[in-house]
């Protein structure tokens, strides 16, 4: 039972701020993923929770205890490292039991805990091996096992899957989720992979430049990003951003439209007109995800607008095809049905679903 709370945490290395004031509450048994590009301060934040780095200022609470000055071993946490950090001279059993042996647990209890963890992770048959004799995925399991046997208040994961190949990564991602469902412990997980963040997290914390950009459920940060950074970082392929002008009038009515180029103007869906009205006439940034630009088929439901695009690049992915076209010199990506995808150079009728559009203020980078 442990919440983790960070209060205005700052960390500077030689006067360079790595973490610039973070407030974060992590609930008991919650799976929180810190995600962001390299150097955004996510790993530093995790290491401060672990006690491997000292916070320059601010307060860190685990449970009700202020742990700023508590050494890592007394924080009752367990950490899984990117390169696993297994002790190479010990067997899997010894690796997993090392912490318990240091704490002088009775032998029988150590055995029971290790075997239990090994069962959860399906590595019972590997207990006598040494790390060198294991594959990457197996080492990853052992590293998680070492964390589980400690029965800690908080699990910390530092990019645990980035050393695995793509296929194994997907598999281990699921394993981690399974383990968390079996061993419900407060978990903080750091990754730069937004798909990992989306799939694993109860809540995603998107970080950039040492600050938190947005905290929310995976769906929230995907569908309702609050900043341009979050909108661009979450989602693959990334959201299309186009400079635009918000102009009065659409189809001769009292609505608004987004003017992307001389040829291309999209009407703003009526339910958003009120929200965007104050910004009418301004130069803004228009954002729309690739999956909201699709091939034209049948009637257009409300909020969707058809247009023709001359394809520049076509990328077949199997289940779908990415089409790229230029709007005023900016490359725009759409996701279409492979059966109807055109060839490069051809003109293809597409539909933009403006119910999912975003407008961003280029001055503040906030989503309006």
């Amino acid at each position: 039972m442990a919440e983790v709370a960070l209060r205005n945490i700052v960390k500077t290395f030689d006067r360079t701020p790595a973490v610039a004031g973070i407030d974060l509450n992590i609930n008991d048994r919650e799976f929180v993923v810190l995600v962001g590009p390299s150097g955004c301060g996510k790993t530093t934040t995790l290491r401060m929770i672990a006690g491997l780095e000292e916070a320059t200022s601010g307060e860190i609470y685990i449970g009700d205890q202020l742990v700023n000055d508590v050494p890592p071993k007394d924080r009752d946490i367990a950490m899984v490292f990117q390169n696993y950090a297994l002790y190479p001279h010990m067997t899997v059993y010894e690796n997993m039991s090392f912490g318990l042996r240091l704490k002088k647990f009775p032998k029988a209890e150590i055995k029971e805990r290790v075997e239990n963890a090994a069962r959860i992770l399906d590595i019972t048959n590997l207990l006598d091996r040494r790390p060198k004799q294991l594959s990457g995925g197996q080492r990853q399991r052992v590293a998680m096992g070492r964390a589980i046997v400690r029965n800690p208040k908080v699990f910390l994961f530092d990019e645990p899957l980035s050393n695995l190949d793509a296929k194994l990564r997907v598999q281990m991602r699921m394993e981690i989720k399974k383990v968390h469902q079996k061993v419900t412990v407060t978990t903080v997980y750091v990754t730069h992979d937004q798909i990992e963040a989306m799939t694993l997290a109860d809540r995603v914390v998107v970080m950039n430049g040492g600050k938190i950009e947005q905290i929310g459920s995976p769906n929230e940060v995907y569908h309702r990003p609050t900043t341009r950074f979050v909108a661009g970082f979450i989602g693959s392929p990334a959201m299309n951003f186009l400079p635009c002008r918000l102009v009065e009038g659409s189809n001769g009515s009292a609505g608004l439209s987004v003017k992307l180029s001389d040829k291309l103007t999209f009407p703003v869906p009526p339910d958003r007109v009120g929200r965007y009205r104050p910004h009418a006439g301004r130069e803004l940034l228009f954002g729309l995800r690739p999956e909201d630009i699709i091939e034209k088929r049948g009637d257009l439901p409300p909020g969707r607008t058809a247009f023709d695009a001359q394809l520049d690049v076509v990328e077949p992915m199997g289940m779908e095809t990415m089409v790229y076209f230029l709007v005023d010199g900016t490359e725009v990506c759409g996701r279409v049905n492979p059966a109807v995808a055109g060839k490069p150079g051809e003109t293809m009728p597409l539909v933009a679903d403006l119910n999912h559009m975003h407008l961003i203020d280029p001055k503040t980078d906030q989503v309006l």
Partner: protein, 304 residues
């Protein structure tokens, strides 16, 4: 490979010749063997000559015969030497000095290396460089100031620090500690930082990180340092020559030379025998530890 490609390019011959890689390898091997044999002959000639001479009587050594052949082999040199209490004293002194120096050096340099490699503290980088610079000073420069220091201590306290075998225990670490510390810093630095962080989170203190993680992981390095340290303290000639004089305080290298050469009379048979016997322990230790060393390196390398 080049020839094969060229032939395809010109199209003059349709058949591609295979086996050019094997030919290249063969040629390389011939040269490797040539140089290896050359080096083996070069380096093994002195010990072989020592061995041959040690089996000869003084008369045969003095006679004009083939120096590379023994016509009347005898073990008399070995018997004489091993029955001399003096020679056994040299051996005992050498062994004691080596064992104590190795133990002291390894304890000091492992702890020094650990703190210099891992516990970042003010001046740790400078200290590490300083340790290395110390090693660069040759012993032939050090022994005179050391002698002066010992004389000074004698004047101050009355403790006699010259002409005792155990004085060497204080002297040899000036050579062994810097080098072993330097080797161990390199070894410890190559251990990933996450390993001590994992141990830290697992609840280990610095001493436990050292004894339960660093020392086992860096064992090959520790063994390499031990071998070096033993060889230095076993074979050093200058320090015992300068600091010890009485026959019962001498160590092997100096003992053999000073007691078996009387004026201009060289007892070659016994000198060679003594040198051969003196060279045996490092050889045995090498052989034994090298096995262990290689075993440590390859343990668990094969998949089960």
């Amino acid at each position: 490979m080049t020839t094969a490609t060229a032939q395809i390019g010109t199209g003059e011959r349709s058949a591609v010749r295979y086996g050019s890689i094997a030919r290249g390898r063969k040629r390389t091997l011939y040269w490797s063997y040539f140089f290896l044999i050359l080096f083996v002959i070069f380096f093994l000639m002195p010990p072989v000559y020592m061995f041959i001479t040690s089996l000869k009587t003084s008369a045969e050594i003095g006679a004009v015969t083939n120096p590379w052949w023994v016509y009347h082999p005898t073990l008399q040199n070995y018997i004489d030497l091993l029955s001399q209490a003096q020679f056994l004293t040299f051996f005992k002194n050498s062994a004691l000095v080596a064992v104590i120096v190795v133990s002291v050096t390894m304890v000091v340099s492992i702890m020094a290396a650990f703190s210099l490699a891992r516990m970042k503290f003010w001046g740790s980088g400078t200290l590490a460089t300083g340790v290395f610079l110390t090693y660069l000073i040759p012993e032939s420069l050090l022994f005179i100031p050391l002698f002066k220091i010992f004389a000074f201590i004698h004047d101050l306290t009355g403790i006699e620090l010259i002409n005792h075998w155990w004085v060497l225990v204080f002297l040899y670490p000036t050579l062994t500690v810097p080098f072993c510390t330097w080797i161990m810093i390199g070894y410890f630095a190559s251990i990933p930082k996450e390993l001590d962080e994992a141990a830290l989170i697992d609840g280990a203190g610095y001493i436990q990180i050292l004894t339960r993680v660093f020392i086992p992981v860096a064992l090959p390095g520790i063994i390499a340092a031990t071998i070096f340290c033993f060889t230095v303290s076993w074979a050093n000639f200058l320090y015992p020559l300068a600091f010890t004089t009485s026959a019962d305080q001498l160590v092997l290298p100096v003992g053999i030379v000073t007691t078996l050469i009387k004026g201009d009379v060289y007892n070659w048979g016994q000198i060679m025998t003594g040198a051969l016997l003196g060279a045996a322990p490092p050889l045995i230790i090498y052989a034994f530890l090298m096995d262990y060393y290689i075993a440590g390196l390859t343990a668990g390398a094969t998949k089960g």
